[in-house]
Point group: C2
Chain length 259, copies 2
């Protein structure tokens, strides 16, 4: 059944709009995915999907996908623009359940990425996507990091939230759990004792911590790492973009872990 909506003041439209904010997402326990690529990823993962919302044209173009949803809303471009943040809305979106980001991870083997106050949503989303590509088990966004389900992060993750485990929480606690399980926690900060990232050989698992864009990792957490890694620079650039560094480190460490 397709229901038509024409007013941006409709009660449902107002609820969807609230999903742009962290508060709205927490209250409803849901978030928005925009574009056919993400709608398809969500369908494949088959985890708690609700309303499919599209313009008349987009819905008409994909009857097979529309048929898989119980609740379908045909909306005007004005409603689409009001609900999404994007400059050029793609004309299709779906409301999905937020995963439980505070459950307890029982298996800490494999590769984990920890984000210590990484604030740019594009960086956070790109790192989740890269962690997925590198075969990581999960990503933990420490307190003070960008919200994992903000529209910008969701756009950059490109569906990787369906491929690995995502958590939010106090990294101090996570450090303890990883070390308790017998795996190293690798910080990333240039200091006299830091090790070239190419020489470590984790066995069975590890956690890699990336810090804030401008300030790096917090002092308190740095003290709790097993070792700190650095990427030797050949040129004159003072630093690398955090998502680029994370990519270089994740692919190298995943190789070292897997053999």
């Amino acid at each position: 059944m397709v229901e038509k909506l024409t007013s941006v003041k409709n009660a449902r439209v107002k609820e969807w709009k609230k999903l742009q904010t962290r508060k709205g997402r927490k209250q409803q326990g849901r978030y928005l995915l925009e574009g056919w690529h993400l709608v398809n990823e969500a369908l494949q993962a088959d985890r708690g999907l609700h309303e499919l919302i599209g313009t008349k044209e987009e819905l008409a173009a994909h009857p097979d996908i529309v048929a898989r949803f119980k609740e379908v809303y045909s909306v005007t471009p004005a409603i689409m623009a009001a609900v999404t943040e994007t400059v050029t809305p793609q004309g299709i979106m779906v409301v999905a359940d937020l995963p439980d980001l505070h459950q307890v991870a029982t298996d800490l083997s494999g590769a984990w990425l920890f984000l210590d106050r990484v604030q740019d949503p594009g960086n956070v989303g790109t790192m989740v996507r890269t962690a997925d590509a590198a075969g990581f088990a999960g990503v933990v966004a420490g307190d003070g990091s960008a919200d994992l389900f903000s529209p910008k992060v969701v756009r950059s993750m490109q569906g990787s939230q369906f491929h690995l485990a995502l958590y939010e929480g106090d990294l101090k606690k996570w450090f303890e759990d990883v070390k308790q399980a017998g795996y190293p926690v690798y910080g990333t900060q240039l200091n006299p004792a830091a090790k070239d990232f190419r020489i470590v050989t984790p066995q069975g698992g590890f956690a890699l911590v990336m810090g804030n864009e401008g300030r790096g990792m917090s002092e308190e957490l740095l003290k709790q790492t097993t070792a700190n890694l650095y990427i030797p620079m050949r040129g004159q650039a003072e630093s690398l973009n955090v998502a680029v560094s994370a990519g270089i480190l994740m692919f190298e460490l995943a190789d070292a872990l897997n053999g």
Copy 2:
């Protein structure tokens, strides 16, 4: 001598504003660098600097740097906002000569990054910065790539334009020159004949080509490469962000070349 400007309609202010556009930059042969970090990088490189433009507060806070400029303009926040594109202007900028992006590179040894229609300015700037960090000799932005000196690219490059050579032009011609010099041109595209990026061992030099964000490399250029490389994925992500891929490839290939 510090000259005060208070009107956004001042002729000089209008000229500076034009530097936001490609046309304006070409006409004046100059571009804008914003923020103290970039002003310092430009001073260190000491290549064709012109007006230093700042708010009263910023100029007063750095008399030593101000003393190094012949032309200094004290402007209102309104003028600053009119000239820069940034949401929160940093209150200081400098006008610098554009380098000659079409000169002929005589030495093609070492590592080179070629950009085939990479369109996002943030990606282009981040890749130049990463190429600098990886010790690359230069970057060539092929036709259809983002302008290397647009404000967004300049922001993301973080001063790396002063550390390596930058060029613009027809990549077909550059491919020929690199191959003529005896070095391989590595494309990046998943195809049945592509090689794992970790197994190549360039001698003396190479060029790495990164393609467009959505469409990859152009068919025509792909046919002209020496070999095509791919990054094996362990997870389920379909692809990597182009700046992240470039970072992984550049650091690995620089190691293979130098080590």
